[in-house]
């Protein structure tokens, strides 16, 4: 359980948004931590370890997500997951 630092707003940096591949990467990363993760976009909240859920957000580049984590690894998880979303992983792949 947490020490208070359990949620953060992040802006999606990936230039083509959170499509299937980055969503899968996100969930893979999320699953490494012993935490419950909730992602919220506007009025929709989903389980951050569910790939279909993350894709359902259809989060476009520049949109804001609220990450809320709860569990033993919450501090590291929040750090790693925010860093992931705030990185343009498409960079250098030739996708525009």
């Amino acid at each position: 359980m947490g020490d208070g630092l359990t949620e953060r707003n992040v802006v999606i940096a990936n230039r083509v948004g959170l499509h299937a591949r980055p969503a899968a990467e996100f969930v893979k990363l999320a699953s490494r931590f012993d935490v419950d993760i909730k992602l919220t976009k506007e009025d929709l909240t989903i389980d951050g370890k569910s790939i279909m859920g993350v894709m359902m957000l259809a989060a476009e580049c520049g949109s804001t997500l609220l990450i809320a984590v709860d569990g033993p690894d919450e501090a590291e998880a929040l750090e790693a997951l925010s860093a992931f979303l705030e990185t343009d992983i498409e960079e250098g792949t030739g996708l525009a």
């Binding site: 299937a20 699953s31 929709l44 909240t45 989903i46 389980d47 370890k49 569910s50 790939i51 279909m52 859920g53 894709m55 359902m56 259809a58």
Partner: protein, 322 residues
């Protein structure tokens, strides 16, 4: 949703109710917060008690005829009583037309006015029913909803425990998938829960180790369903997480979703256990209970019949009856 703007109301119901705009809703007008529909006849006549000022106001033929009968000043006063800031909009029925004094007052007060060719009674019924649906409490749950023998089973549990696989196996056995992973739940006005899928996800499903599959393409139309009443929650837990699970089935555990209580069955998972058959049994047992057959109680009453026998007296000669 617990409130909606007049614009949202028109987007959702405008066509169905044949609403024609007469004066536009202001950008920051009052929201619709109740599914009540009010006929302001008495209010127009000057009796303000019982006026539901948060409701949509419907002016039918009697109200319009009454307004028509009034002198100019009295009419202005009556309309001023009606067009108060909390009124989301006024609907004039039977094709109107909306009296020009109403339009002038509404424009001044920033009240939206619509006209419909429908009769007031028809409009009132449809509007109230539509508002009941739109204003129904909603939530999004993480789980898999399957129609098993007509019973809506909502599978919940941690990520990776096997909710989707359980749903897939049930589909393979002829049951119907409603939603996987993300289930939108609405509390219907009648007080039960309706679950549906998401427009984007539809009947796609992620199966670990395989990837994304399209259940409708794979199993056909019989394998899917758009929405279903949620009747039982089946919580899948791993054996090690287990606290105390049901052995007899006397006590019915319940869980509240949006304030509606439904039975909760906690299922411990071990490898080799056939969750599909157990899920079918849960559904059938629920149906039996609805029909008044409660296996655990009936078995117990048979058992009690045996355990509470009075021992027969040994010295009584059984054959010696009068």
């Amino acid at each position: 949703m617990d409130r909606l703007t007049v614009q949202q109301l028109i987007e959702r119901l405008g066509e169905k109710l044949a609403l024609e705009i007469s004066t536009a809703p202001p950008p920051t007008g009052p929201d619709v917060v109740t599914s009540d529909v009010f006929r302001p006849g008495l209010l127009l006549a000057g009796f303000e008690q019982g006026f539901n000022a948060d409701a949509i106001q419907v002016l039918g033929q009697p109200e319009l005829a009454y307004l028509e009968s009034l002198e100019e000043l009295a009419k202005a006063e009556a309309l001023a009583r009606l067009c108060v800031p909390s009124v989301p909009c006024v609907i004039v029925t039977d094709g109107g037309p909306a009296p020009k004094e109403l339009i002038a007052t509404a424009n001044a007060s920033g009240t939206a006015v619509y006209v419909t060719p429908m009769a007031a009674s028809t409009l009132g019924r449809r509007l109230a029913a539509g508002l009941d649906n739109l204003l129904a409490p909603q939530a999004t749950l993480h789980g898999t909803l399957v129609d098993v023998y007509g019973v809506g089973l909502l599978f919940t549990g941690k990520s990776g425990i096997g909710k989707s696989e359980c749903g897939l196996d049930l589909v393979e056995h002829g049951h119907r998938l409603v939603a996987d992973d993300v289930v939108h739940v609405t509390r219907a006005p009648q007080g039960h829960l309706i679950g549906s899928g998401n427009d984007l996800l539809r009947h796609y499903m992620e199966i670990r180790g395989v990837g994304i599959i399209d259940v409708q393409a794979m199993f056909g139309i019989r394998a899917i369903r758009k929405q279903k009443r949620i009747e039982v929650e089946v919580k899948l837990v791993s054996w090690s997480d287990l606290e105390d699970y049901e052995r007899l089935g006397f006590e019915e555990n319940r869980i509240e979703i949006l304030g509606v209580g439904i039975p909760l069955v906690t299922l411990p998972l071990v490898s080799g256990k056939n969750i599909t058959v157990i899920s079918e049994v849960i559904a059938l047992n629920h149906l039996l209970k609805l029909h008044g057959v409660h296996a655990a109680r009936e078995f117990d009453s048979r058992l009690r019949g045996l355990t509470s026998r009075v021992p027969e007296s040994a010295d009584l000669d059984r054959g010696d009856t009068e």
